[in-house]
Every structure is written in structure tokens, then in C-alpha cells.
Symmetry: none
Subunit: 231 residues, 2 copies
């Protein structure tokens, strides 16, 4: 889930500053000091985006960008260039290099993060999942709504994610640990009993329509979302 971002910047101070900013924003930064190191790193890991300084010792940033565009495996890799404000490089060469965005130095950290997210958003193919329905209970991700017989049911964010996961994976038992991974996310630490509380909250929300019986307890193991009668 966490996007990996290759950061190619020769000045150590700036590199470290951006690196910590990226980490803080939930990205996985891969620092590199020059083009050679960048290419070495890319042989091992395939980043989701490249932050590339315009001025680099040895192979310049724009030259590296051209190389990446030439290689079929990195042709679609988004590139954001870091340039000195109003340096205004040759327009046509910028066009040809196929850079996705420019950020002029000095820049605000938040602007940089915003531009990264914008580029990732534009680049990523959108995977819209349609509404799910089970015995009249409808969950629509696009409107972010849970409906029973036409009337909307109010559920909290976590309950929504949990119900969405359950509706996509019915008739299967999940341990609390698995639910934490799939509903909360992998690298978060919360007590397993917290799952029980949210199960309770989900049941409470579904109870007025009788759908609470779909959320079943498997004693000694975990929980299951099922239309079959609980035995």
C-alpha cells in the first residue's frame, strides 16, 4: 500500500529533509545521491515514482529522465523534477523528456507532497468496484453508503471497511488478527479485543433490520459473514 519513491538528490541536507518528509507522509523513500546510484537501486526495487533533481553531478537529471523514458520497463514511471525556481529549462527538451511535473526550489513540503499525490492519482488506473448486495443489504463504495430496504444505515468508517471486507469475503472465518490486517491495515498495533468492539458496533447498526445475524461468531477462532444459519 505504501508507495515507494526514489529520491535522487545530491545535496545531503535537502535529501534528508525530503526523505523525512516523505516518510512522514506515509511514503517509503529510497534515497540516492546521483544517477549511478539511482540506477543501481532500481535494479533491486521498482519505485512507484521518482523525484529527480535537475542538477546532478555526472549524469544530469534530465538525461536520466530520458534514459528512463527510453527503457520500456520504466517508460510509464512517473517523474517529478526538482528545479531551481525560474531556472526555466529548455521547454522542448522538457517536453521530450516526458517529465510529469516540476517543483521549483525552494518549495514547501506540503506542496511537494500534494504534487506527488496528484501525479500518483493521475497515473494510477482507477479501480472502481460496484455496489455489493446480500439479501437486500446494499453497500455502495462509490456513494459510501450502506442501505437496507432503501433506508440508509449509519456506520462509522471502521465499520464500513469491515462490512465491505466481509461482503467481499463471505462464508469464511477470519481470526481477529486477519481482520486487523485487512480492515485496519498491516502495520498498526491495536488490541485484538478491539475487533470485538467494532463487531459489536457493526451488529448494532445492522440490528434494526435483522442483518446482525449475518455477522457470526466462531467460538475460539474469530468471526464470519454468512447467510447460512449459525449452528
Amino acid at each position: 500500500m505504501a508507495k515507494t519513491i526514489l529520491l535522487v538528490e545530491d545535496e545531503a541536507a535537502i535529501r534528508e529533509m525530503i526523505e523525512s518528509a516523505l516518510a512522514h507522509a506515509g511514503f517509503n523513500p529510497l534515497p540516492a545521491a546521483d544517477a549511478a546510484e539511482a540506477e543501481r537501486v532500481m535494479k533491486q526495487t521498482r519505485p512507484d515514482l521518482i523525484l529527480l533533481d535537475w542538477m546532478l553531478p555526472g549524469v544530469s537529471g534530465i538525461e536520466l529522465a530520458r534514459r528512463l523514458r527510453r527503457d520500456i520497463s520504466t517508460r510509464e514511471l512517473p517523474i517529478i523534477m526538482l528545479t531551481a525556481r525560474c531556472e526555466e529549462p529548455d521547454r522542448v527538451s522538457g517536453l521530450e523528456a516526458g517529465v510529469d511535473d516540476y517543483v521549483g526550489k525552494p518549495f514547501s513540503v506540503r506542496e511537494l507532497i500534494a504534487r506527488i499525490q496528484a501525479v500518483l492519482r493521475r497515473t494510477a488506473p482507477r479501480s472502481e468496484t460496484g455496489p455489493m448486495e446480500i439479501e437486500g443489504l446494499i453497500l455502495d463504495p462509490s456513494s459510501h453508503r450502506v442501505t437496507a430496504e432503501g433506508t440508509p444505515i449509519k456506520v462509522g468508517p471502521t465499520e464500513f471497511r469491515m462490512l465491505r471486507f466481509f461482503m467481499g469475503n463471505r462464508e469464511r472465518v477470519f481470526t481477529r488478527s486477519q481482520l486487523l490486517d485487512n480492515v485496519w491495515g498491516d502495520n498498526v498495533y491495536v488490541e485484538e479485543r478491539t475487533v470485538d468492539v467494532h463487531i459489536r458496533r457493526l451488529r448494532k447498526a445492522l440490528a434494526p433490520f435483522g442483518y446482525d445475524k449475518l455477522v457470526q461468531t466462531v467460538h475460539g477462532t474469530g468471526y464470519r459473514f454468512s447467510t447460512q444459519t449459525d449452528s
Copy 2:
């Protein structure tokens, strides 16, 4: 059916490059070197979109955009402006002039194509439907007015664009980021919380008629325009 795109750009090198890029992407490019030539071309062919350079000899790009907005026949024509990063144009005044998006030079061909398609996608339904109406709330894009039960509602430019977007995309959640892209324009950088402020202003304007409940909050996600009761 290939979309026709009028390209107004004075620098021949850039014009030709974009022209070939457009042709390659399946569009039908109509090149023009200045505003006068652009207006001449438009008398013969009606393009689906205009790519307009900010800096033009004679009549400037933004001035041409204003003229197009004044003319009823071209009022709904999507406009994308090409601006140099260092020119730092006032995007707000551009937005008020009715520009749909900005692309800062230098830009990648991919980005340009993506933005063109994005603008075409989101302006397509608008131009065909004309005035929109939801439960007595009427928004008329051509006269730029909002009315409730005959009485006009005063909304600011941003609130108007937001309401127009919402009325064209009901029953769907949008994150603050998506709203910024669609209401403000893609590469405008403003704080996400600013969306909340304009949501507030829109609600305040709609409140005297009870329409404020159509603008719903989806906690943890964003906002939604819906006629269904929020619960």
C-alpha cells in the same frame, strides 16, 4: 468520433510538437498562431476544446478566453490554458474567466493528453443537459444563476462551480482532493481544509430554503450531494 482541438500557440516548435502529440492520441488538431487566426478558424469549425497559450502576441490568451466566455455560442467550450511555470498567473482570475484547467510548461505529453481527456470527460455531460434541477433547486449554467422556488440564491463563483459539479455528480462521495481537482482545477495548490470552508458557504447559501441538507458529510472520506436522507 475524433474530438477536434483548437491549439493556439505562437511558438512554432512547441505548436508542432503538441500538434503531432494530439494527432497521435487520436485527436484532430487545429493549429493557430494567434488570437486572430484562432477566431478565424472558429468561424468554420467548432472545436470540442481549446488549448490556449497564456502569452500570445496581440490579444493575450486570457483575454481571448474572456471573449469566448462572453459569446453565448462558445460559453460552454472547454478551455485549457498553457502557462509557463515562472509566469505565476493568477489562477483564480483565470478560473473566474471560465478556464477549465491549467497546464504549466514545460509539461509531459502524457500529462497534457490526460488533462484534455479529463476535461472532456467532466464537461461532456454538462454541455448537453443545460439547466439542472433537483427538487426545485435550479442551476442554470448559461445564465450563471441558482434559484430556489423562483427566488434567486446568491452564491460566489467557487460555490457555483462546486454546486454545478455536485449536481452533475450526485450520490457519489468525493474526497477533498477530488473536489479540488474538479472545482478548483487540477494543478492548483490550496489547503484541503479550504474545501470545508466553501462547503460551509454553500450550505449557508442553500440553508434558507432547506437545501443545505443535500450537501452531506461523509466522515473520514469527504462530501456527497444526495437527495437521500443522511443517516
